[in-house]
Each structure stands twice: as C-alpha cells, then as structure tokens.
C-alpha cells in the first residue's frame, strides 16, 4: 500500500469514527428516548417533545462537540507545525485561557447581551493577544522550554484575571462559573451557541488549511521554507488569525478544554508519516472524535454531576504531557 493510500484509509476510518460518535452523542441523554424515535425526530418538522429535545438540545451539543474537537485538534497540529515544536498547543500556550478571559469579559460585563457577536469576537481578541504574546515572549525558533514558560505566564495571568472578573460580578452564580471557563463543558448549549461560534470556527479552519504546504516546508526551517516560495509573514498571519478565530469561538461557547490539541496530533503524527500538512486534516478528525468521546463519557460516568470536559481530558492528557516533557528533555540533552 502506498503512503497516500494509507493516509486516505486513515482519514476514512477517522471520518467513520467521528460519524459513529456523533450519532452516539445524539442518542445519549437523561430523557431516555428510543433510538429510532430519536433519530427520526431529528428530522421531524412538528414541535413534538422528542423532536425538540433532539433538535434543540442534543443536536447542538453533538455539533459543538465535533466542531470544537476539530478546532482543538487542527489548531494544535497547526501550531506544532508552525512553531516546529511538539509542545505547542492552544491550552498549554495560554490561548484557551486568554480566549476564556475575553469571553468572560464579554458575558459578565453584559456586553454580549447587548451585542451577541461580542462574545466570539472578544474571545477571538483574547486568543489573538495570547498567540502574539507567546510568539513574542518565546521569540524566533523558540525552544520547547521557552515556549512552555511563555504559555505558563500567559495562562496564569489570564486565569487570574478571569477569576477576578467573576469574583467581582454581583451575580452570586458568577464566582462558581470559574470552573466552566477553566475546564469547559457542553452542557445545555443551544443552537444559538452553534450559530454564534461555528462561522468563526469554519473561517479559522479555512485559514489553517491554507498553510498546510507551508508547514511541510517549515520542517526544513524558516529560511528554506521562504526560499521555496512561501511568504512567512502570510503564513504567520494565517496561523495566528486562524487559531485565534477557531479557538476563540470554541472557547467562547464551551470554555477552555485542554490537552486535546496536544495529544491528538502526537498520536496521529506517526500514522501520517509526520507530514505536517496531512496531520492537519487527521488531527481535526481525531480531535472531533476525542471530544465527542469525552463528552459522551462525562454523561455516562456522572449523568447528574455536570462533570467538566477538561477534567477528563486532563486525566488522560496530563500524564501524557509529562511523558512528552521527559522525552523532549532526553532528546535535548
């Protein structure tokens, strides 16, 4: 089998997996609806209760699970490719935390209730800020260490400011919602959230997809990539804006969900021959599958508890991250 055929097979399998998990996500819920009844209700036009539950509660949750997972996987793969650094990821670099801060400012100051697009836009702004700051702090050809340190700094600051805003809110519920913004959840998201975030995510995906070949060339370093005809300024702008738009919109409606952008590209990299371009598509599908699975798991493990997604992704992701640091350190010595 040629490498290309193997890649197409992988993509097909991932697509099927995402499809299966998407349907599973639609079928799982506390209301305990029948399989065929719920699936047909998905397309029913009348206002039957089952149709409403399927169309207004479960469908947006499944759509957001797939789209946000794809965003995290794709942006993780794109950032790793662009920064040529295996530890780059929206969560670790503080991009998610800063997007959370933007979203928190939009929601809790009441701006988003006046102008609803303020939510994704301010989250995008937060994400943009983080990407630019991390890029500046870590500098050109950042070592994994300096990148992580920059990410830690940005994350802590954004997290602290988020807590501050929530604690200062006169609404007694606000202070408890820090958990949502730090760990993420898809509970009770609606179609409103889908319409608010999906367009930004799609724009971000398109931007990131456009840098695929440049990321391959960047494997050989910035100078070589430039000599091969890739305009690095444009590549940087696309990566930065694409990540900010997609991660910003994802975080604005689901909070900061960590580690998916780190793990998924790592697991899939060997399966795509390490090509950064092929890793983009594969990681998008892989991210969608992982987040859908995580969201199914939180509903199955503790149906009444609103277990946060970030708890699950961190339980798997943090040990993986430690292993990765260990491996990276060994390679650097």
């Amino acid at each position: 089998m040629t490498e290309r055929a193997r890649f197409l097979l992988l993509m097909t399998m991932l697509t099927v997996l995402v499809g299966v998990l998407f349907v599973a996500s639609l079928l799982i819920g506390p209301a305990g609806l029948g399989v065929s009844a719920s699936l047909s209700a998905l397309f029913a036009a009348d206002g039957d209760v089952v149709a409403i539950v399927m169309q207004e509660i479960r469908l947006p949750r499944a759509i957001l699970g797939a789209a946000i997972g794809a965003t995290l996987g794709l942006s993780g793969a794109a950032m790793q490719g662009y920064l040529r650094n295996p530890l780059a990821e929206p969560g670790l670099l503080g991009i998610s935390a800063s997007a959370s801060l933007g979203a928190v400012l939009a929601i809790y100051t009441g701006v988003s209730s006046v102008f609803s697009l303020a939510l994704p836009l301010m989250a995008l702004g937060g994400a943009l800020f983080a990407v630019v700051v991390v890029r500046l702090l870590a500098g050109q050809n950042a070592t994994p260490l300096s990148l992580i340190l920059a990410g830690v700094a940005v994350s802590s600051l954004a997290g602290a400011l988020t807590s501050l805003v929530l604690n200062l809110s006169p609404n007694p519920f606000a202070a408890l919602e820090i958990v949502f913004w730090m760990l993420g959840s898809l509970k009770d998201r609606s179609m409103t959230h889908v319409w608010l975030s999906l367009p930004f995510m799609v724009v971000g995906w398109v931007m990131l997809a456009h840098v695929a070949r440049a990321l391959d060339a960047l494997t050989l370093g910035e100078a070589t990539a430039a000599s091969l005809g890739f305009r690095l300024n444009r590549v940087q702008a696309l990566v930065v804006l694409g990540t900010a738009a997609s991660v910003g919109a994802a975080t604005a409606v689901a909070g900061a969900i960590g580690f998916i952008g780190l793990i998924v590209p790592h697991v899939l990299r060997p399966l795509v021959g390490s090509h950064p371009s092929r890793l983009l598509g594969a990681s998008a599908l892989g991210g969608a599958a992982v987040l859908l699975a995580a969201d199914i798991a939180v509903r199955v493990i503790a149906p009444d508890r609103d277990l946060k997604l970030g708890v699950l992704t961190a339980l798997v992701g943090a040990p993986f991250f430690l292993w990765l640091i260990f491996k990276t350190r060994r390679e650097m010595i």
């Binding site: 290309r4 070949r213 494997t219 050989l220 100078a223 070589t224 390490s274 090509h275």
Partner: protein, 261 residues
Amino acid sequence: MTGVAAPLFEVSGLSVALGGRDVIDTLSYTLEAGTVVGLIGPNGSGKSTLLKAALSLLPYRGSIRYSGQDLAGITATARAKCLAYLPQDGEVIWPIAVEDVVMLGRAPHRSGLAPPSQADVTAVESALAAMDLMEVRRRSARMLSGGERSRVLMARALAQQTPLLLADEPTTGLDPAHQIALMETFRGMARDGKTVLASLHDLGLAAQWCDRLLLLHQGRIVLAGTAQDVLTPKALEQVYGVEAYFGESRAGRVVVPIARI
C-alpha cells in the same frame, strides 16, 4: 536592447544592515550562467548574510537582478523557481522519510495538495541518485548521520531544479569522498548550464573546483576572479591571517593553510 545578454545574476550596490550595522556594505558582483562560484572569507565576513539577502530573506538596499529582472518585483513562487537555497546547519524537525524531504524541493512547481506529477517524481529520483541516497530513501531523515542528512538537504535543493543554486557551506560535515562527490555534482550542474554560488571554508576545494572565487572581508568583496587571482599569499595573510602551502597536483592548484600569522 543592447544586444548583450544580461548576466544570470547581478547584485549591485547591495547593503544589508543587521543590528544597526552594515554587515554587507555596497557590494556588487555578477554570476554568469554555467559556472561554479566559490564564496570564501573568514567567519563573520558576511557570507551567509550575502546569500540570504540574495534570496530576499533579509531586508536589503541596492538591487538584485535575475536575468535582468529585479527580484523585488517577482512573486516568491516565481523566485523559488529560479533560485534554490541550501542553508547552513540545515534541519529536519519532523521524522519525515528522506524521499519526502527531497520532494519538498518540488514545492514551487506543485499546486495545492495534488499528488506529485511525473516531472516531480523524476526530479526527486535523479536528486536521490545524485546524492547517493537510494538506499536510505525510506528512512526517517532524523535518523541519519550528519553527513547523510547534509546530502538529503542537498538533494532537496537539487530537486528544486533551478538555474541558480545558493549553497551555504554545503561541504561542511561531509567526508572527503562525499565532499568531492558534491563538488562533482556542482560541476555537472555547471555543464548543464546551471550556476552554483557556494560559500566554502575549505580553500583547497575552492581552489580545485570553482571557476571563480569571491573573497569576502568585512562585508565587502576584496578580490574576485580565478583561484590563481584570489588565493594569493598576500590575500590569505591580510584576510584570514594565515600562511598557506601552495602546490600543484594533477587535479590543479592545492592550497593548504599551515600556520597563523
């Protein structure tokens, strides 16, 4: 039209400032098609900077013309079809297969993520063969020895199939046999009408294999011409601060630095 063909590559009045200081100072030179030109000079004389500026990788003042056309006025992709670049200390970040690394050299000739054309495949095959890489073609480029990796990166530049190759210390890290093989490849390219500008530290290789040498010192070209013209005891003493042994062999002039002055 003057009737005289423009030189392949013409740099005039080039200055490059790095950190507020002109590292390259109003420098001019031309490269003729079908030649191998050695760029020599001590550490810090500006060789790498000169090569990068020639590729427009650094901001510069002055003009750089390719076949009479100002490089500043053409697209990055068009430029990449004319000039290939082999950086010093080339790296391969991800464990990509050797042949895939070489295929990256075809980037300016390919569009989108379409499968490679027959021309792409042919270019990669001949580059792999020229650099003696057929046996390791499926191996990860990160798992190779330093010399092997240098050859992979060289093959990548060859696969770009440009009329002009700018190579920054391409022989560094290669064993003598592969150094000679590389210089033979450059000669072969010159026979095919292509031009190579390579910075070299090995004055012996420079003397033996290059048609012309440019001796760079403190951002200026202090001597240009054949090895006979450039590699003089006086020039080596003034620019490098070394005394050299000069001799003749059946392959041509031999220059071996023997002592500091």
